[in-house]
């Protein structure tokens, strides 16, 4: 087992506490701190570093767990779910196409009420192929019954993995959880992370006690054929209720977490919201760019603010309502696209606000950052400018799909080259 010293290393002697870790290393470190028992794995860019790191630790004996590479993500998820039912604390990770390949099993694992934790390293879905992130992968699992926690920083990745176990394994929840982090922008980005100490984690996350573990001598039925819609409905409604309860359980767990480690997490997070009239709603690593845009607008005297969705399932409706009501305008930044509809989170935010009397007059849908498309700070502030223009009536409301002219010129050049021009 790792010594407390090496895990709690605060960079001894450094002026800045913590150490530089990639998002992937933060995820692996948190799995080790959670003392997981079993890691079924299958590699895919940009997740691979997580399972390579864990495989190394298991091999060198600094992590006391069983690591197995399966032959696909589908088998990986099956192994994860069944091991979790047997009472193991299970960790695994995937990305993009891997998550889709595992998709059939996600619904099974949640239906079995197996509280394992899956880290998804977001990468846009093929075709066409790209390695960089957007959230169509993780949001394809939106309806699977997994709790979803999305991270903005490498620090949050580590903290969310630990919180995810506490919530998932709570007897009031008993659902699996996904912790999402963006490929490249977190997975390969090193930044300061303060890892919690092992003793603290042990008290925050005691060993998993399955209520009805699969044991050879003690049969228990899980995920059986029910053959009747009303029985099926009964089970699904129970899952829904458990997922809804997960928000309260998360808040309780977050309170304990703050007491132990000092970092405070809610299902959502507001940034400069106090007097904000124009609010951008977003999630994941590009939220950092959103914060910069808020600061730039504030420098120009515009009361701008940001609402970050940390918890995407259950959807934090009450928190969204509380923080958006009374604002002049909001924009929902979706780093995903449902062709034929638009961003996936926009309708969820808009639906949350529909029955609220003093809802923002304008809720602007914005799609951007697909396939990891880089966003300049001007591009981010243009979202606020659009919100203001639409809200003041000087422009009609139309969804924004971000693309800069110089990017479009590059697309045109590439197409011309492919078509035989020069």
């Amino acid at each position: 087992m790792p010594t407390e010293g090496d895990l709690a290393d605060d960079g001894g002697g450094h002026a800045v506490k913590g150490k530089l870790l990639t998002g992937n290393a933060a995820a692996a470190s948190a799995a080790r701190l959670a003392r997981v028992d079993y890691i079924p794995a299958y590699p895919i860019t940009p997740q691979t570093e997580i399972i390579e790191t864990i495989a190394d630790w298991v091999r060198e004996g600094t992590m006391d767990a069983k690591f197995v590479q399966l032959e696909s993500e589908h088998s990986m998820m099956t192994a994860a779910g069944t091991a979790s039912l047997a009472g193991a604390r299970v960790f695994t990770a995937t990305s993009s196409q891997g998550l889709l390949y595992a998709m059939e099993m996600l619904y099974n694992v949640s239906g079995w009420r197996a509280p394992m934790v899956l880290v998804n390293v977001s990468r846009a879905l093929a075709a066409p192929i790209v390695l960089e992130p957007d959230h169509n992968d993780v949001l394809a699992a939106r309806d699977s019954g997994f709790i979803q926690l999305h991270s903005e920083t490498c620090q949050e990745v580590a903290d969310m993995v630990l919180l995810a176990y506490r919530v998932a394994e709570d007897s009031r929840v008993m659902l699996p959880a996904i912790v999402n982090l963006d490929g490249f922008y977190l997975s390969f980005t090193r930044e300061r992370v303060v890892l919690p100490d092992q003793k603290g984690v042990d008290s925050f996350l005691p060993p998993y006690q399955p209520p009805h573990p699969l044991r050879a001598s003690q049969p228990v039925a899980k995920g059986t054929a029910v053959m009747e819609g009303f029985v099926y409905s009964y089970f699904k409604y129970n899952m829904h209720a458990a997922a809804v309860r997960a928000k309260k359980v998360f808040s309780e767990a977050a309170r304990d977490y703050k007491e132990l480690f000092g970092r405070d997490y809610g299902p959502v997070e507001g940034y400069r919201l106090d007097d904000a009239e124009y609010v951008i709603v977003m999630s994941n690593s590009f939220t950092t760019l959103g914060r910069q845009a808020v600061n730039r607008m504030r420098e120009r005297g515009v009361p701008a603010g940001l609402l970050k969705l940390r918890m995407v399932r259950p959807f934090p409706t009450e928190e969204v309502v509380a923080l958006l009501k009374g604002r002049k305008a909001a924009a929902v930044f979706d780093q995903n696209l449902s062709p034929g509809s638009g961003g996936i989170l926009f309708p969820e935010v808009a639906a949350s606000m529909y029955h609220v009397r003093d809802r923002p007059q304008t809720i602007l849908p914005v799609v951007g950052g697909l396939g990891g498309k880089q966003l300049t700070s001007d591009e981010m502030t243009s979202i606020f400018e659009e919100m203001i223009a639409v809200n003041s009536g000087s422009k009609p409301l139309a969804p924004m799909f971000l693309m800069r002219s110089e990017e479009m010129a590059k697309v045109k050049r590439a197409v011309a080259l492919a078509e035989g021009g020069s």
């Binding site: 980005t189 950092t288 243009s382 479009m408 080259l417």
Partner: protein, 296 residues
């Protein structure tokens, strides 16, 4: 105070390692720091970029650096590569460190508002390491210009190079090289200012102009996307030995072997990626390899 550094190199030259060395060095020196590489699925030789930010307060930025204070260019053949565009957005009052044998005033004539520093890192690396590994050299140049402390920096070189699995001897040689580069330069008082930018968003209707879908129908067009500049090594046919048996022609995965009018095999250097499969397969050992030109 925050400094933003953008490294440009080719896959295999060590841009990512350089960004991490600098990230560690700044962290060791008491700064908040963040580093991040960006690369596609391409292999060695393709243009890559890596980034380091460091600051005396929490860093509230991430991802691509559009307006760097310092750029480190590891290969001067990237200067004219429109995909790399290494000086793009370099701030007024900023600094570019270029690995080159050219003179600094020949490099970026139209940017009198920035400091250009030319260092022959490849030459130094060949002399001191015996190979053109550039990560510690370019990191040393940037760290010195940025005013990062020497001991913290050298510790970072050793730390990172051990992490990528270099032998103790190579680590020691790299530290010596880093010291030499560091000692050659002086810290700069950087007072930088972002270049003015103008945002022009393209509306969706323009992005998707026309109806239907975008299919590329021209055949054989992969040859027009030149991948020859990905090469680190270049295969050269010795026509005295070659019997035109065509084995290399059959094995080349890029179809970069062709037959000349006179019936001899020839390499299409616009597209050869330098994988050296031809060299391995030639039964007569008629293909040899040379290092690519430029700074590689």
């Amino acid at each position: 105070m925050m400094l933003r550094v953008r490294f440009h190199g080719r896959g295999g030259q060590g841009a990512k390692t350089a960004s991490r060395i600098l990230g560690d060095a700044a962290f060791n020196d008491g700064y908040y720091s963040q580093d991040f590489p960006i690369y596609g699925a391409e292999r060695r030789g393709a243009p890559v970029a890596a980034f380091t930010r460091f600051s005396d307060g929490e860093i509230t930025e991430r991802g691509f650096i559009f307006s760097p204070d310092i750029v480190g260019v590891m290969d001067d053949s990237l200067i004219d590569d429109p995909l790399a565009n290494p000086f793009a957005g370099l701030r007024k009052g900023g600094c570019a460190v270029v690995n080159t044998t050219k003179r600094s005033d020949a490099l970026l004539a139209d940017r009198k508002d920035a400091t250009i520093i030319a260092v022959d890192l490849t030459g130094m690396a060949l002399k001191m390491l015996g190979k053109a590994v550039l990560s510690s050299g370019i990191a040393a140049a940037v760290a010195r210009v940025a005013g990062i402390g020497e001991s913290q920096f050298l510790a970072a070189v050793a730390e990172e190079l051990r992490e990528v699995g270099l032998s103790e001897e190579m680590v020691r040689k790299n530290v010596e090289l880093a010291m030499a580069v560091y000692g050659q330069l002086a810290p700069l008082e950087l007072r930088t200012e972002e270049l003015p930018t103008k945002l022009e968003l393209v509306p969706l209707a323009v992005v998707v102009s026309g109806e239907g879908m975008e299919d590329v129908t021209r055949t054989g067009n992969s040859a027009v996307r030149h991948t020859g500049n990905w090469r680190t090594f270049k295969p050269v046919i010795d026509y005295e030995k070659c019997t035109d048996c065509m084995i290399c022609y059959a094995y080349c995965p890029e179809s970069a072997m062709s037959v000349r009018e006179d019936g001899r095999v020839a390499i299409d250097y616009d597209n050869c990626k330098g994988c050296m499969i031809c060299l391995t397969e030639c039964p007569l050992r008629a293909i040899s390899q040379t290092m690519e030109g430029g700074t590689r």
